[in-house]
Assembly symmetry: C2
């Protein structure tokens, strides 16, 4: 009985970890591109039975067949529940394995100790173009995790995937429910929390993290929210010449992501 | 006689410098925004006589009147010659003074000696969004000049102005005719020429310029052209994690523009 419970619990944990690493991508072009990328693992292809299986849908089916990916057929309503976007899924969705996706809680349960961790947190990045560019730069740079709440940021859909140049699938994404409580958990785990703010007295380029550090980027117009600011140890500003008042948020993300290389 | 020639020559030089600092912006929204920005100097407003002087055009006229800016009326063909874009000028253009615009030759004739100069050169940046973001980051960061040939890059029009968040008017732009010969001139003046290339053995983050340095960004797809590569002292790469193969060119520009702060 105890063994059974243990097995069930372990199986549950495995299933949970499996689903947390899964991104359901939708739309004909993103799905076909994902199926044709040999570096990606695709677990299932979902098709609406309303599709005419010609042209692009035939290409998608052929790619799935060549890679031995199971194909599931659904009615439109079922497919919309899978894609979470019935308006834009074009009757096609695919479950892609993203090895770098985790829950923040799992990451914090066994945080890496070998190196000082640098996380990037997104507090209301609503423009998919910015979201994708941030993810691309963070994945390329020295960022150990991109902390992202399920709501409040641009949805991880086709626009973000395109703007990320497909790097979303490879990004170290840490999911959380709400950012303020996630930041509180990070602080308990010893992380320094820094928000990027134009009016902060300390420069990003002068700041040296004393240990694990998390950098928070605010909304493109409103900046960092009050609830998030309440969790911050300090604000950091980026000095600017020629009367320029702000940088694109994806540029700010890049300076943080690659700043570690300059500091060495 | 000798004096007269001297005066004429000096007047010519002044007029030339005047026109080199002038950017003719077109389109109703960009022109109105420029007229409403108190930090900008506008020399003239140009209107096509085909405009109905109501709505947006009335707002533009009112803004020009309040600032005492001369208004010139033209027929459509004349206005198209002024805007260089009859299809998109919407019958409106304005001459804006950009104090940071210069000819490369004038800059090299009396190069600043107080500090190590850092220039950014653009070799075929064709996407206006990228062009604007590069200009915004370069103007904000530690870049002394953005070297830009008249052809081969996205035109400095409304799309670039918008993507630059209006910072184009404040940017230190160095005009040249063709980039390869401009880079040859820079080398003669003692500049080190570095091209950004994914396959370069040396990392941008390990490179320390030995003096004045110019960093060349290539086309979004093709990279740096052969004629430009022939002028380069060396290539620099940006190391990337998670299998990411490239960065957005505006992100690369930002890492160069702000790299100087990290190096200090």
């Amino acid at each position: 009985m105890g063994d059974n419970t243990g097995n069930n619990s372990s199986r549950y944990t495995q299933r949970k970890a499996f689903f947390e690493r899964m991104l359901t991508v939708y739309g004909r072009k993103p799905v076909l591109e994902a199926l044709l990328d040999p570096a990606l693992t695709c677990h299932a292809l979902h098709l609406a039975d309303s599709n005419r299986e010609t042209g692009p849908v035939r290409d998608i089916l052929r790619a799935a067949e060549q890679r031995g990916i199971p194909v599931h057929r659904h009615n439109r309503a079922e497919l919309a529940r899978i894609s979470h976007n019935g308006r834009q899924d074009q009757g096609v969705a695919a479950d892609i394995l993203c090895p770098g996706f985790r829950q923040l809680a799992d990451y914090l349960a066994a945080p890496p100790t070998a190196s000082r961790q640098r996380l990037l947190a997104l507090d209301g990045i609503t423009n998919p173009q910015n979201m994708g560019m941030i993810i691309r730069s963070a994945a390329a740079g020295a960022i150990d995790g991109i902390l992202c709440s399920r709501r409040g940021n641009a949805a991880l859909g086709p626009l973000v995937i395109k703007a990320s140049a497909g790097t979303l699938y490879r990004a170290p994404l840490l999911h959380c429910d709400t950012l303020p409580s996630a930041l509180a958990d990070c602080r308990k785990a010893g992380f320094e929390v820094c928000t990027l703010r134009a009016d902060a007295p300390l420069s990003l380029f002068e700041h040296r993290p004393r240990g694990h550090c998390i950098y928070v980027l605010g909304n493109e117009t409103e900046g960092v929210s009050e609830a998030v600011q309440a969790q911050a140890d300090q604000g950091l500003a980026i000095p600017m010449n020629n009367g320029v008042e702000s940088l694109n948020v994806a540029v700010t993300a890049s300076l943080i992501a690659f700043g570690a290389y300059f500091e060495r």
